[in-house]
Amino acid sequence: MASRRQFLQIGIAGAIALAAAGVFLLPDGGRMSARLDRGRRALLAAVSGALLGPALPGEGREAALEALGDRIERAIGALSAPAQRELAELLAALDFAPARFALTGIGVPWARAEEVEVARFLERWRASRYPMLRSAYQALHDLVIGSWYAGRETWATIGYPGPPEIP
């Protein structure tokens, strides 16, 4: 467990990395392409696993995450251009190893990150004293969780019958 002092350092370094990554890491002026590359998909799958936890099915988990990734891509494509740019900056920062480590403390590629480690950094951002990290957490929370429960196949798990039939 990191000390409070280490948290502070991560927070400040992370905030700087977040700002810098946006400037240096975005191809073609920060426009989100229609498809996310493999690195971004792996990052979103890791974050989705931690945000959704037991909401994900035990059986067919990989397939569920893959389908969720497609829905997340569509959701991103429907955001406003400025929101797409900001999200692209966040994902670029998290997919850049030095920034990933500074921001999250995770020292391995996303595909190999443990769910508990991912959950730990998200929980830290959720309650961070830095509003920017809290807003980054909320962006991921809303994108991932909203995309998940937009899917009809999830409705039975929460007792939602879906829209009524109109004769």
Partner: protein, 537 residues
């Protein structure tokens, strides 16, 4: 039972409707009046001006989607019908804003709650904003006309279980509640108003005033973004627009120019000030875009012993103004209590936490009840609301700092909502705040809420009511427009939407927008046509 969609016969009836995203080349139109926006203000204005025999052209950035496309699925409705896919946010991301972006604007997706402008609000506008002409007596006939036109009357079926829990808890504590009036005719009580009414029971602009205007020759241009007014010598000379691309995100399509005798802005309380800002409209007193209000809203969920199924049934049918009336209007912020509809995406993105804790909350969805407290902003002397500015790409951005008087009210609201929810029989009460894991009884809630750190991005704050930014005032030094909606500096430009309110309304704003637009558009129709304006249908 077959559902009538007035748009089915649009082609046969010769309605002039064009999807500008399909234009291959630049176009130019002329009209008597150009109206930017097709929501509450634009819709009512279009019917009145078209009935007066004026040639009207309407510009809408969103798509034309009608009941045939309203499948009651959030995954489809939010990207298609809402501004920024229902994820519009204030500059610091602390407030999420729900606003429509489609033909009919927010009236296509709102929850139908209809309130006349509260007399105390009008009194404050007369006293503080030189709006002496806006008396209860002067506005009463306009409210009555709109209520008749849009079938606005108190909801006469039983409230759904979510509203009933609120009414039960409040009544047990002696807190008065009342029934909400709704703009519906033959409502099926389904609960999906927020995704576009699939039965056309909701008397939104989509099925009332816009078809009426089109039947009288008005022209509707959809998926067209109003970029800027060309202004010379205190007159608007033209409206310059660009068509949206196929995805509706960027305005990269054909250029469209509209030349009109008069220009009506009804693009909503972020859109209208942003259009004037992009146009570098005269603003000698620096008031444009200022005093933007949101009724910033805090939320409390509760787990009930009974099944609530808050996705079903008319979403908002009970309200309480008890906490608006406790203090003077310009004192500690008051709040209105209402409930929201509870669909999976809206609920899951709003509730705090992640992983197992969040999954457990979602598992309780059928038993979840939710209360909202909408703060009446803009009256307290320290409360100047937010400011609309422009991003680099010209899109509007609202800077809305949440200040100490708001947080003081938020704490009172969380306490009031918890008391009501426990009085209704809640097993657990959960103010929507990242540090809060819920409370099992009132004593726990009272002490827990008392020590919650109320800060942006810890407390979830939302808004579905954007108002102000082109404030009205009888004094040219204080307002962007006069109380009749005419721009103080531009001779042939009016603003007829929620952006003219100089404070928040203190009630869901649609009926206030309809009535003021009806009054002001009628006066404009008279001055442009030289004849008395005809009444609404």
């Amino acid at each position: 039972m077959s559902i009538r969609d007035p748009w089915d016969d649009a082609r046969a009836a010769g309605w002039r409707v064009a999807d500008c995203a399909q234009f291959g080349a630049a176009r130019r139109y002329e009209a008597d009046v150009a109206i930017v926006g097709t929501g509450a203000g634009g819709g009512v204005s279009a019917e009145i001006l078209a009935r007066a025999g004026l040639e009207v052209i309407l510009v809408e950035e969103g798509p034309l989607a009608t009941s045939r496309r309203f499948t009651m699925e959030e995954a489809r409705a939010y990207p298609e019908l809402y501004q920024e896919s229902a994820a519009r946010k204030t500059r610091d991301k602390a407030i999420n804003i729900l606003q429509g972006r489609c033909v009919g604007g927010s009236t296509t997706v709102n929850w139908t709650s209809s309130f006349r402008t509260p007399p105390a609000t009008l009194e404050f506008w007369r006293r503080s904003f030189g709006a002496g002409e806006l008396t209860d007596e002067a506005l009463a006939p306009w409210f009555a006309a709109v209520e008749r036109r849009l079938s606005i009357r108190p909801w006469d079926l039983a409230p759904n279980a979510n509203n009933a829990a609120f009414a039960r808890g409040a009544s047990a504590l002696g807190i008065p509640v009342a029934v909400i009036s709704r703009n519906v005719e033959g409502c099926w009580n389904l609960g999906y108003c927020g995704m576009g009414c699939p039965t056309n029971a909701k008397r939104s602009m989509l099925v009332t005033t816009l078809p009426a205007a089109l039947a009288r020759g008005a022209r509707l241009l959809t998926r067209l973004r109003a970029q800027r007014l060309a202004i010379r010598g205190g007159w608007v000379r033209s409206l310059e627009c660009r068509a949206m691309d196929a995805g509706g995100i960027q305005a990269g399509g054909a250029a469209v120019t509209i030349v009109a005798r008069h220009y009506v802005l009804a693009a909503g309380a972020l859109g209208s000030p942003a259009l004037l800002l992009r146009s570098r409209a005269p603003d000698p007193n620096g008031v444009l875009g200022r005093r933007t209000f949101l009724h910033p809203t805090v939320i409390a969920a509760a787990k009930m012993p009974e099944r609530v199924a808050g996705w079903a049934g008319a979403p908002q049918t009970v309200y309480s103004d008890h906490f608006l009336e406790e203090n003077p209007i310009d004192g500690a912020l008051g709040f209105k209590l209402e409930v929201p509809p509870l669909h999976p995406v809206l609920v899951s993105t709003t509730l705090q936490g992640m992983g197992g804790a969040h999954a457990a909350l979602m598992g309780d969805l059928p038993h979840t009840h939710v209360l909202l407290a909408l703060m009446r902003d803009g009256f307290h002397p320290q409360d100047a609301g937010g400011t609309v500015g422009l991003r680099e790409d010209g899109s509007p951005q609202l800077d809305y700092p949440l200040h100490a008087p708001f947080w003081e009210a938020a704490r009172r609201a969380f306490l009031a909502m918890a008391r009501i929810q426990f009085a209704a029989g809640a097993l657990r009460v959960l103010p929507v705040h990242e540090h809060c894991g819920g409370y099992a009884n009132w004593e726990e809630a009272r002490s827990g809420i008392g020590s919650l750190a109320l800060e942006p991005l810890l407390t979830r704050v939302v808004s579905a009511h954007v108002m102000g930014g082109c404030g009205l005032s009888g004094d040219a030094g204080q307002g962007v427009v006069r109380p009749d909606g005419r721009h103080h500096q531009l001779a042939n430009c009016s603003v007829f939407d929620g952006s003219v309110f100089p404070t928040s309304v203190g009630a869901n704003p649609q009926l206030s927008i309809y009535a003021l637009a009806a009054r002001n558009a009628s006066a404009l129709a008279e001055s442009l046509s030289g004849r008395a304006a005809p009444a609404l249908a």
